[in-house]
Amino acid sequence: MTDVSYQTLTHNGLWKNNPALVQLLGLCPLLAVSASVVNSLGLAAATMFVLITSNISVALIRNVVSDTVRLPAFVMIIAAAVTAIELLMQAYTYELYQILGIFLPLITTNCVILGRADAFASKNPLLPSAYDGFIMAVGFGAVLVVLGAIRELLGTGGLFANMHLLFGESARAWQITLIDDYQSFLLAILPPGAFIVAGLLIAVKNQIDARAKRLAAQNAAEIVVGAKRVRVTGKIS
């Protein structure tokens, strides 16, 4: 497993094996918190901290902890990291801490984190593990922020409201109101909107993949499954 290149890791984390769009892990916070950009960013940052910390720690102890007790050990590490980020956010971004509420402690049970710890960090050295945690968190966070932006835009007609919760008072001015006097589209902010928008995002991703595959097949002059052909015997599978 040591021959994993950083390029593959990047491609996996951001696109091919994206935690939110392909593995569909960690959907609970993803759908519950992504009602606005600032919430999404807050949760993405917290998740990234936990993911990197836990991946590094797991990679360090991977040769010490025996296989039979590895899962409890991993969960302990993750829980410790979550507690740390929770206290940090309580200290520095208290309002956001209150908005995110139960979903901060729930990062512990986010399957992405335990999944990466067990599937990658427990079998790889420190640096690739740290990078894997980082890039997975970026992939997860990117989807989270895009989802938050779409929902905030549809729901309130603006973007980047309340950014001062995360970036200090000067960020209050970042708020953009695209449409004045917008009838708020409640569905986008309510939970069903999260499912619908996430589903549409997955659909767009699959569409892009399918198109890329078709183009590649055409360029390679390979036989395209389902294509029209003259010979009618045999089967292309």
Partner: protein, 340 residues
Amino acid sequence: MDFLRITSPHGHGPLSTAKVMQTVLLATLPGLAAMTWFFGPGTLINIIFGGLIALALEYAVMGIRQRDPLFYLRDYSVLVTSTLLCFALPPYAPWWLIVIGVASAVLLGKHVFGGLGYNPFNPAMVGYVVLLISFPLQMSSWAAPRGLGEVPGFTDALTALFFARDYDAVTMATPLDIMRQNTGLLMDDLYREATQFGQWAGVGWEWVNLAFLAGGVWLLYQRIFTWHGPVAMLAAIGLCAAAGFDGGSSNSGGSPVFHWLSGATMFGAFFIITDPVSSAVSNRGRLIFGALIGVLVYIIRVTGNYPDAVAFAVLILNFAAPLIDQYTQPATYGHDRSSE
């Protein structure tokens, strides 16, 4: 006579999707007439405007999906979807409400699942629920019926459609709403006090429901659907209402007749739950499907947050339809159930 067919069945009904859909559209005419009489031309304008939007959307989506748009436009199904949705919208709704509703119905309700025949939910009800959840204010401003308020004319209705802010339609709480919010009056007092109540249910509403009943019975006669779903739904509502009603107080939720002739009961029973795609398939399944919808409609009407419940009940039971189908699959002819 036609002697061309040799094997049975010898009698054949040349029913196509387009024919079925046209028949359904025709059957909504009594309901449309009643609504236009009592609430003014708002519903008619909704239906025409919504229909145009729906046709344009269907054309565009079929183009994107690389199908022949005209082939699919010709089966009238998208018009039925938009018409049923627009019946459910309040008259004199602003134009964007109709656009969002029709777009949700056609795109989210139908095409993301693969188009007509693949939709697990009733598209019209998807559009309606999207609107009801998103825009509670606009969706709950229902026009006052003739006799209680001024019924707007045609130009007023058009103004309301495109310049919502320049014209305030006269709106009024519907009888179902009053019934839900009043818990402390005797029924006779309530009927005297609130002018919205008519002979059996609400002024206007009772006739609208009877008109939809007439259209539905005609569809039944035309064999567009079987009697199982509608009858089960109406029976379930009636039984629930009879069980809950104590004969006098408004706290007990209204009589069976009140529930049959209020809100969207008849419209739902004959035009919504009979959708062949999203309902249960077998006759026994349809009985269960309809009855559960009826029970849910009553429960949500009496104890829920929303005055009417047909859309929610239908969507929930659409979820359940595959399960109902699995347990009500009829035995194949010549086999007994145990050998399957």
